[in-house]
């Protein structure tokens, strides 16, 4: 049986994921201030689309980037400042036609209602290419920006493994926020708009549904103010590093992004994800498991490692990441991705270390390499993000006869 082609996506953030990557911007024809204009992002996403990638993600957070775990570091020698990710995704939507657009938005602070209609509207303006990367904001710094919640403890690097009650609560709350979004996305049936001149009715109100959600942290009445969007349910893509987030992904996501550092971890984490699915009683489509990798890509053997060392030097410290940092040729990366696929992942979210260089490495190096090995598409076969991911378009859970 031939293996299914890989899903490939990239994570866009600043000048790339290496903190010194901005220093190479002028060499690629960009000024550092271009990070705060539309053209830079539109160019990157257009390139990702030429590479036929499934989707791009956009990072986001309320607090200024920092080299510290929680709190400002006062540094100016790294990228600081960032746009609202949902709006950035919307800005590039009309300039692209196929690629999925997956912004990050918090489940901790932003009203779930606002997030839900934002993503739903992104799905409308992109004609079915929106996704959502829900993010738990555990940092005290972020909470202080928002101000609605007091008493946030400082977040420590071991918070997740220590499984403090505070962190567990934030993830339980995130599950509620995702559930609310999904119900709101379903709250208009597809054929709710009837424009029936005989009775004077624009909508059939029996096809608009209160979601009547009540949880520990909030309640939302519904329905959405926004009609059902082209995909119905925009895909939810969740990054997860431990059992608590695997459970969150199993409860609410379509795709889980994991961060194994070797093939053994690919196996063990995939098994943990499947366990979380069983424990949460997940029904319907199984979670798609993609691995996150930071990538330095150069055709010439050894060149990527040299570039990595040079950027580390410029930053004054070796770059470390939650994900594996890969430096090599597109061919070497293809080997690794196919090895990991055999161990249980269906796709990847690659974090270009330096933009646009390592994005081009993905679109013009890696993608053709994988295609040559029969592991990546030669053309888009669908028009929506759900389509790229092989997910059917679901009927509203509230529709008569819906499977639920």
């Amino acid at each position: 049986m031939p293996e299914r082609p890989l899903h490939l996506s990239v994570a866009l953030d600043g000048a790339g994921w290496h903190p010194a990557a901005w220093r190479d911007l002028p060499g690629s024809g960009w000024a550092t201030s271009d990070l705060f204009g539309a053209r830079y992002w539109a160019d990157l996403v257009a390139e990702a689309e030429r590479g036929l990638l499934d989707f791009v993600t956009f990072e986001d957070a309320f607090a200024l980037q920092s080299s510290l775990f929680d709190g400002p570091d006062g540094r100016g020698d790294q990228v600081r400042g960032r746009f609202d990710a949902v709006l950035l995704a919307a800005r590039v939507a009309p300039l692209t036609s196929r690629i999925g657009l997956v912004p990050t938005a918090t489940t901790t602070h932003t009203e779930p209602f606002h997030v839900a209609i934002g993503i739903q509207s992104l799905d409308h303006v992109s004609l079915g290419r929106a996704g959502w990367r829900p993010q738990v904001s555990g940092r005290r710094t972020d909470a202080a920006h928002f101000g609605r919640r007091q008493g946030f403890p400082e977040l420590r690097p071991d918070a997740l493994t220590a499984q403090s009650e505070h962190v567990r609560d934030l993830f339980d709350e995130a599950a509620d926020a995702i559930e609310v979004a999904r119900r709101l996305w379903d709250s208009w049936e597809d054929d709710a708009e009837i424009r029936d001149t005989a009775t004077g009715r624009f909508v059939d109100r029996d096809k608009l549904h209160y979601i009547d959600f009540t949880g520990r942290w909030f309640g939302v009445k519904g329905p959405s103010i926004t009609p059902r969007s082209p995909q119905g349910l925009p895909p939810v893509v969740a990054l997860a590093h431990d059992v608590v987030p695997y459970r969150l992904a199993a409860l609410g996501a379509d795709v889980v992004l994991i961060t194994p550092h070797d093939v053994e971890q690919v196996r063990s984490i995939s098994a943990q994800v499947r366990e979380a699915e069983a424990e949460t009683g997940r029904a319907g489509e199984p979670l798609q498991v993609y691995a996150d990798l930071v990538v330095f890509l150069d055709d010439e053997p050894g060149a990527a490692a040299v570039r990595r060392a040079r950027l580390d030097d410029l930053d004054g410290a070796p770059y470390v990441s939650d994900a594996l940092v890969f430096a090599g040729t597109p061919g070497e990366l293809a080997d690794l991705l196919l090895e990991w696929r055999a161990a249980g992942v269906e796709g990847y979210r690659l974090r270009p270390a330096s933009l646009p260089h390592d994005l081009l490495g993905v679109t013009r190096g890696l993608a053709p390499e994988l295609r040559a090995r029969g592991a990546f598409r030669a053309a888009y076969e669908a028009e929506t993000l759900r389509g790229h991911l092989g997910l059917p378009r679901p009927a509203s859970r509230y529709a008569a006869g819906a499977a639920r």
């Binding site: 901005w22 101000g147 909508v203």
Partner: protein, 443 residues
Amino acid sequence: MSRPRKQVHLAAHFPGVNNTTVWADPESKSQIDFSSFRHLARTAERGKFDFFFLAEGLRLRELKGRIHDLDVVGRPESLTVLAALAAVTERLGLAATINATFNEPYEVARRLATLDHLSEGRAAWNVVTTSDAFTGENFRRGGYLDRADRYTRAEEFVRLARELWDSWEPDALTGAGDGFVRPEAIRPFSFQGRHFDVAGHFTVPRSPQGRPVVIQAGDSDEGREFAARTADVIFSRHGTLDDGKAFYADVKGRLARYGRLPHQLKILPAATFALGDTEEEAAERAAAIRRQQVGPQTAIAFLEQVWGRDMSAYDPDGPLPDVDPDLSDGVWGGRVPLGDRTALAAKWRALAEEKRLSIRELVIEVTGRQSFIGTPAAVAALIDRFVQEDAADGFILVPHLTPGGLDDFVDRVVPLLQERGVFRADYSGTTLRDHLGLGPGSN
């Protein structure tokens, strides 16, 4: 002494979720597809309008505990659509209505600054304070604010947003050499007020306008005072000549108290229109549109709002029934209460009897005709007159059709306004502040 002719400012309101928007017309297209937003925005830009405007309502309207189904229902999240429109327009201002009660300042300020960057200086925010428990059911915050608190919250909200917009120095991004940014040029903020307690660093560099344009659309005394202190534009309901003049004088008169000049606050009433080749044709068209806007079921629904009881058994083309209003409780969700319904019912009854109107004719009569009806030349002259006589600085036009409702106006009225020398032939600036003649947004 003559003064130079005032320039007219025009904005385009995307047709809203009320009965002004006619959905039953064969020309009426989707209220939600991006193509509709794009068409209307591009039409407005072709007409050199100042800005494109989206209203907001965070819960679907209800009548008698059920979702109101006779008008257009459903709309997108405003800023998301405006960010997309920034990609398909170049000069047009992009205004979002955003509630100050069901949002938090840091996030709204950040999203508006993002839109301002992504549109190269075209973002605007219509600050509304609607805060009923009905809408609150969709939000964590829930509940609602006392009337008195709505504007103190809005006031703090805008003050804080502006502090955030100002917090990055203009030259914070050094651009080259050793640093990405001068860290000392990102001023930390810390704000403790009655409504907000926040601190940190803003994440968006100073945007092209510095401060996105602030619009206000409340009508109470507190609302007018708030506008005089803080707004750049007022979106008003005072669209007739006399009413407009009184409102204009009142609000502009409040500016001096805050050390502001009259041109720093633009007053733009909502306006509807009907055009024809002759006056008769325009009048016929206006009447036809009114009949579309007030269909038989809609006429009964209006009656029910005032009478507070089920009137569905009555014939909309028959006379007003002889029953009194039921004052026990309000029947509308998501709407401003109507005030003294007994008096209103008496007034409607007197009018119906005097003019021998059916229910539907009555509702058509009392719910407002178009602001401007006539030939393009007549409408252009009227708009000019309203502006020169200080009834307005311009208008936010509300077309009755999506998305083509502005086509005729742009093709036929705008050129005449340009000929009169009161409307720009092309954009002279790049930002919305430029279009509105507000001067740079800074402190």
